[in-house]
Symmetry: C2
Subunit: 332 residues, 2 copies
């Protein structure tokens, strides 16, 4: 086989669901591997909410958008099938930003070898963007202390599920906000969260008050939406809020307003946003922090696997509908 | 004379203007000065926006409200007229929380001697709560760097005017938001701000864009109100927002909502609220930071002096109407 399939971004989302009309499926020749290069056959790609930012026209964002006509940006894992690079051998597993395509030619920049004896799905679910993001935000902003209470929105999501399990292992009371009873059941009975709120069916104010009798010390925000207002009102003095994602707000042309800032003064809150590209230099430190929890079996995951490169184009919408059950992964 | 006048809080504000109906003017006997005590004759009291919090029924605030029937809380400066305390002599000037009353009996706790050769009005305007608050918030949260741009709301106020002058002395571009052309003129032509916005008459979006062509790195928030949304939209990456006061929001039963949090992620903003009671232990450090600017003549002030203890009761409303010109002080 001398050709492979790639998917380019050719239009920008206008809000609402995304679909095949934004993309172009193209066939390319497998490139020659020059001196100092190697070729990766990608086996699994990660789908992440951050992709909506990467597709958007807003040049104001933390990394440039994907240029129209370029291959869509994504992280993935794969195996080296050909190498003229002294440090990368055929058969090595690597992880990094390889995009929506079956093959990826690299000189090694930005790719990391995968040595952990875990399947590709577990690598993408825990050690790739989700685990790094969870670890960075929870410890550098949330500063969790044993005995405190943390609320995590998007708690069954790839980041939120890891945040909650790390906090639980650290001795916090952990409450997760999810969008279905099935997810509520999973985070409480499988992951060990202390409580769950179904934002679609529960009375948010009542349920939150019941589950956080001592108030809230840390809020890890993955979603936005009405729950934000209820959590804000229950923050304790010197509370910390890590703002990681606002999936409920991204597709709206006029995003909902946020709570008035009076509690920021009264409670002396700290609110801080973060994105992983600022912290790629800290990846070794973050992995060193995360790995012991994983090795002790304290971090469970579940992957929601879509099949075939082209499934990525509509798969992204599962973030909006909340129908994904676990980390969204495309198996090539 | 063996009696003096004090003013007690007897009701809580319901929103909107406050007036004499919330207070009770009482006559008390001048107390005997026991061993280890001294008596201060207060000469000037400070009126501060924080007083609305101290009067409010919200027990959730950063310090307990003034109990109904107690003397209203305030800071002031005065002279010792009688002393049985080894460390405080008749004639010494002291500063501290002495309340709305002509005389104050103390064992020394919480009072500081005033040694700077400045008149009482300057002491209350610069070295008391306003200067401490400005110094704490600007340096611990704002982290101003030479060449950056800072926007200060309530810029002609007691805190805002000091924040702006400190930042200007540090080499920042300093833009102030005020509520009258007279205040705009004062901060630009007397205090040296680089620009002013009159939030009552200017087109906020246009004027802010014109005055901050390189975006905004630091926002020192004293007021709330619509300017908050416009500043938020122009924050630069890694911007810092110190939330010090929200005078526009306090009197509202249903405070206005705040900007959506999407820029907090995109720009990786830090938003942090603070109140001075958390930092009273740092007062010596803060004074050491502030004093050199004052001694170099870089911090100008103006006092808006009301006359007579009873003028405090309606004087507070000047914060809402914005009619105060400079630090509000009551001369006894």
């Amino acid at each position: 086989m001398s050709t492979f399939t790639a998917i380019n971004l050719i239009a920008r989302p206008a809000g609402g669901p995304v679909g095949p009309d934004l993309f172009e499926v193209v066939t390319k020749d497998i490139p020659k591997v020059a001196e100092g290069e190697f070729l990766v056959k990608q086996s699994h790609m990660s789908l992440d909410p951050a992709m909506f930012g990467w597709m958007s026209p807003d040049t104001d964002s933390y990394i440039p958008p994907v240029a129209l006509g370029d291959v869509m940006r994504s992280s993935g894992v794969g195996e080296i099938v050909e190498s003229n690079h002294p440090d990368f051998q055929v058969g090595d597993r690597v992880m990094g930003m390889m995009g929506w395509q079956e093959y990826f030619l690299s000189n090694g920049a930005g790719l990391n070898k995968v040595t952990a004896p875990l399947p590709d799905e577990a690598i993408l679910s825990i050690f790739a963007l989700p685990g790094l993001t969870a670890t960075q935000g929870l410890y550098s902003i949330g500063k969790p202390q044993k005995g405190e209470t943390i609320v995590v929105s998007g708690a069954a999501g790839s980041v939120g599920s890891i945040v909650g399990q790390l906090a639980k292992a650290d001795g916090l009371t952990v409450i997760g906000v999810v969008g279905s009873d099935e997810k509520a059941d999973w985070i409480v009975n499988e992951l060990g969260f202390d409580g769950a709120i179904n934002y679609k069916t529960d009375n948010l104010a009542e349920k939150l008050a019941e589950l956080t009798p001592n108030g809230i010390d840390v809020y890890f925000e993955n979603t936005g939406g009405p729950i934000q207002h209820h959590v804000f009102a229950r923050m304790n003095a010197h509370g910390r809020i890590a703002v990681c994602g606002l999936i409920a707000d991204y597709p709206k042309a006029e995003p909902d307003l946020a709570p008035n800032w009076i509690p920021i003064i009264k409670k002396r809150l700290t609110i801080k946003g973060f994105t992983m590209p600022d912290h790629f230099g800290e990846v070794p430190t973050l992995l060193a922090k995360l790995t012991p929890y994983v090795m002790k079996g304290q971090i469970k995951h579940r992957a929601h696997v879509l099949h075939g490169l082209e499934s990525a184009m509509t798969g992204l919408n599962l973030f909006f509908t909340g129908q994904n059950k676990g980390k969204l992964i495309v198996k090539l």
